[in-house]
């Protein structure tokens, strides 16, 4: 009999060939002033797989994503992207790795002086210099259509809702056809309908593009909808990692409490 916590059989299955990790994090530690945010965590994601990182506020979920894309530097531990350790890479070399990654910020972080279309075109203008203006325009329209934002090309970010901003942010993150997608609270602050739409959108993109994705979220419902695996963080450590059933069957008090409250 199905329960409210059954994982919908919608997710794309991760790649089985070789199981090489696209993103591998080992013994990662990060401290801000005297506060340890991440206390030696290890996680990995393969191609076609979506890992949802759950936890209470302030447990370092967003910091983990920022470390992976190199916006923060770890105190110790390693982060490997396609097997390459990114520690100490020069900004331009790190840029080459970032081209393979798409990042959706929690508050979308759209460029407020550019239109929606210009925001999505921004990575293309800088990294696809061989693209003609019309090719770029077509690509932007296609990306906006993919996230259900067609017809908003000339709108300013301040003129659209939070959910729409996240869609535009997602389109921008997908512009360079990344192999890795990092999503920071994609459904936070959205109403249940918008939240569901964003979740469906991520699932659809995941099926079509087979990216390795890490989704940071508080939202257990969307996490189990879009992720193959879940990792629950508490006090800088991974408390449990596995399928949703593993969390349900766990005897760990924190896991039980988290599931009860979600």
């Amino acid at each position: 009999m199905a329960t409210a916590y059954d994982i919908p059989a919608k997710q794309a299955e991760p790649e089985q060939d070789g199981r090489a990790s696209v993103v591998a994090v080992e013994n990662l530690r990060k401290t801000f002033a005297s506060h340890t945010v991440l206390n030696g965590i290890s996680l990995s994601v393969s191609r076609g797989e979506t890992l949802a990182v759950l936890g209470r506020s302030g447990t370092g979920k967003s910091v983990l994503l920022r470390l992976i894309i190199g916006l923060e530097t770890p105190d110790s531990g390693s982060i490997r992207i396609h097997g390459q350790d990114i520690a100490g890479l020069a900004l331009d070399r790190m840029g080459e790795i970032r081209k393979k990654m798409g990042f959706l910020f929690q508050h979308a972080a759209l460029y407020d002086s550019l239109t929606v279309g210009e925001n999505v075109a921004f990575p293309l203008v800088h990294h696809r210099r061989d693209m003609s203006r019309s090719e770029r325009g077509d690509r932007v329209e296609q990306l906006l259509a993919e996230v259900g934002m067609e017809g908003n090309l000339d709108a300013m970010p301040s003129d659209i809702s939070g959910g729409m901003q996240k869609r535009v942010g997602l389109a921008r993150a997908l512009a360079l056809e990344p192999e890795i997608l990092l999503l920071d609270e994609p459904t936070a602050g959205l109403d249940p309908i918008s939240s569901g739409e964003i979740g469906d959108l991520i699932l659809k993109l995941q099926r079509e593009r087979r990216m390795a994705s890490i989704v940071v979220t508080h939202d257990l419902h969307s996490a189990r909808t879009i992720a193959n695996r879940l990792a629950l963080l508490d006090q800088g450590n991974v408390v449990i990692e596995g399928r949703f059933e593993d969390l349900q069957q766990s005897d760990i008090e924190f896991v039980k409490e988290f599931l009860r409250q979600s």
Binding site: A33, E72, T73, L89, D92, R98
Partner: protein, 283 residues
Amino acid sequence: MSDRGFTAVAGVNLPLAGRRNRPSPSFAGSAAGPVNGFFEWFGSLGIFSWQVLKAAVTPPYEWRELIRQLDEVGSKSLPLVAMAGAAIGVIISLEARYSLSRFGAKSMFPATLVYSVIQVMGPIITGLVVSGRVGAGIGAELASMKVTEQIDAIEASAINPYRLLASTRILACVLMLPMLTLATDACALVTGWFAQNLVEPLSFHQFISSGFNGATFNAFLPPTFKTAVYGLIIGLIACFQGMRTRGGAEGVGRAATNSVVLGSLFLILADVVLVKFILVFFP
């Protein structure tokens, strides 16, 4: 320096955001360590300058953004510096005529006006006006981008923010300051002559030929082109203050204020050195 984000001295570029785990050193320092704060601020500025220089000289070059910034710094500052120059011309004219009359040296009026404007007042007034308008603008714009994660988004899009945001703005300031100074000088000379002409008729041709009589390029070019250094100071300080901002709206306000205050202060201090340098090397 304790900040891990600044370990770039070892040849490693670390992200701008990596600095958020430590409080940014302020120019005046903290109450606990004003001396440390002072040196940390200069150390951070030095590393920031190195990052910008490296980004500026390596491709890809951001021509489109540079042209936009040239317009932003140059064309849009032109009315302001022209008005400031016009006012300064009238003020110097009134003051010079009165002082020279007292010493019976009225014939020196054109040369006094020309030298005062071109060697002293034109450059410094242009620098201060641009520091107020452009310094505050750059500081506030970049600070606002920083606190709303737009600079992080640029970096996450594999674009070097030192290249796109800082080097273009600084270069625009360096290139535009001498041009704006020429505009200030021209306006000041015209209004200075006009003010004099209202009291004692003097043809413009006579005024110019008398004012520039015996002048060499050394008398006029170095004072005009020293403003490129002003531009460097204004752009560098404003970008530095903006891109290291923390603390929301308050941080944005602080960045804008600091950009103007520190930019103007360093500009005046630099002028002391530059004047001496010009006197020694361009006598």
